[in-house]
Symmetry: C2
Subunit: 352 residues, 2 copies
């Protein structure tokens, strides 16, 4: 999928590190007015005036966070940026700059890295953030990507995880479970391909979920949407490790319990269809799947009318007192306790 | 050196990621007044008021940048921070925050990571920077450390690489070549140990160089020193890849040539002694060795009297026009061209 062995490739070692950084980043233009100086010195210089500066970082490891046998490098570059911007948006802030460090083994060619940076470039362009620095080195095995995102926000707008109040409504953006089911489809096709390399699968009926997995977008729009509505969310977190895990974080940080309703959880019809095919419960996919990069936030009950019926916002429950615990009411009216199954220890998930 | 097999170790997977981060970072206190919110949400919040914000990042890979057979994890943690702070100091700025992301394979125990973070903690404490975020994940092989440093500076104080003027004096701090010769000693002892694991080497006569390699300090003091002298450096860079490589960067960025004098390059007597033992030319060690994390900067000639004779500052040459090239005058009066030998392509050195 990634390599056409017939085209001669440029070994990275033939360039040298600084020529490599120059080659990979020359098409990146500085766009944000707060970026005073980007790549090319010991450090980048950023001026956020009277705004607060926000910083978030993620480390992505080949074989742990991504599988290059079905992940195009361009999409991987894009996704690596999304994962970080999502954290900045989850603070109700504006993303302004990123740094990208990569370590690569010698099996990667210059053309492969250019693909990766093309994805990073597209993400920067689409989300209006500047690439301002990074580091490029060799790895003894595989590809490692470390992204740090910088953002800004007015002090009063920043939304932490710990601000939810009892009775607040719990809202999620978009829909959930798509990225996880996309991963299931891709893993199945990989297994098929290993048995029969001539297989030419038609994946068009899985296109939404595959795109959610390979090329997720992060919710740059929610800050402005809520501002238009005159809503200041009381707490917010992004959904990287699954709704169940994230609502536990938000609840615990706010020293509250929560109650959500299974039939309120937004799930795309394609997710439902693929879940049937894979014999996976679609609520399980939605609450434990992770990697959807939607936002989970809480608002005052008095804001209910403002968000009601909005196609991008689903009210899925409310915050309770801490003693009530973390619960989901199923479609059959049963109460089950939420646990952080979406995150299986350090072995397979990134942090926030 | 690192492991006493008799003490039971805590598997990392037994904790889970968030408990792991909590356990590793609970002793870190927020000290810098610009740190509004550190670890524990999607992003850190920093307020730099009317100062500029500086950002620098480095990625360190086991087997590429460090060898755990002779690098105590505590020192590695300390050094990982130093490498990044050095970049902030090289902008004539004050370091204020760091983020640290790590990926570890399952051969590391909780106790090993605590050692690593103890070094990070000491670096934060000694240099008065706050740890404000990061990511912790698994790796398929080895230990990976990604550090991003944030700094601040008044706009007028920031010193780029490109500001040197023809005739400016070239100055280095401290002395050079120690870290490289320390590495030679450690590599030799590793080879001896592999042949005879019972060997108990006496490394006391190499202690300065070994400390330069394993536990370098970065030059937090130079900004204040120059300010006291009433000097604004015209250009500055840190010496991570060797003097020769760095002076080429500074010269090229400033569109100038340079001339330095071999007998002005500061070299510690221990470096000279170890160089004799290893039959390495000590100038070669000093200009190509790297990892000394000293600063290289240029000042106006009129500032000569202010720095003359200062024990921490060596005037090693001056900037020339671009056509004159990049030259060193040897002790015998020969002129030789400087090249970036200190940096051997992407295979063995980190970026800035």
């Amino acid at each position: 999928m990634l390599e056409n062995k017939n085209i001669p490739k440029t070994p990275i070692a033939s360039l040298g590190e600084f020529a490599l950084i120059e080659a990979l980043t020359k098409s990146f233009e500085i766009k944000d007015s707060s970026t005073q100086f980007g790549i090319g010195d010991d450090a980048a210089v950023v001026q956020h005036g009277k705004d607060e500066t926000l910083i978030s970082t993620d480390l992505l490891i080949e074989g742990v966070h991504f599988d290059l046998s079905y992940t195009p490098l361009k999409h991987l570059g894009y996704k690596a940026v999304m994962v970080n911007l999502s954290d900045i948006f989850a603070m109700n802030a504006v993303a302004t700059q990123i740094t990208v460090s990569i370590a690569v083994s010698n099996r990667f060619s210059m053309e492969a890295l250019e693909e990766l940076y093309l994805g990073i470039y597209l993400a920067c362009k689409n989300y209006k953030v500047d690439l301002v620095g990074g580091d490029t080195t060799s790895s003894s095995k595989g590809l490692i990507i470390s992204v740090t995102a910088i953002g800004k926000a007015n002090k009063d707008e920043i939304t932490f995880r710990n601000g939810a109040k009892k009775g607040n409504l719990v809202i999620v953006t978009g829909d959930l479970g798509g990225a996880y089911m996309g991963l299931q489809v891709l893993e199945r096709e990989k297994a098929v391909f290993q048995v029969n390399p001539q297989s030419q699968p038609d994946l068009s009926e899985y296109s939404y979920c595959i795109e959610r997995q390979l090329k997720p977008e992060s919710r740059i729009d929610i800050k402005a949407l809520l501002k238009d509505f005159g809503i200041k969310p009381t707490a917010m977190i992004d959904i990287s490790d699954g709704l169940s895990s994230e609502i536990l974080h938000l609840s615990k940080a706010s020293k509250l319990g929560c109650q959500i309703y299974e039939d309120k959880i937004p799930i795309d019809p394609e997710v439902v269809k693929i879940c049937e095919e894979f014999k996976i419960n679609n609520t399980t996919a939605a609450i434990n799947g992770g990697e959807d990069y939607e936002l989970l936030f809480t608002i005052e009950q008095s804001d209910f009318e403002k968000v009601k019926g909005h196609p991008d916002l689903s009210i899925i429950g409310h915050m309770t007192d801490e003693a009530s615990g973390y619960n989901m009411i199923t479609g059959l009216g049963q109460q089950i306790e939420l646990s952080a199954q979406g995150w299986n220890g350090i072995e397979n998930k990134e942090g926030n």
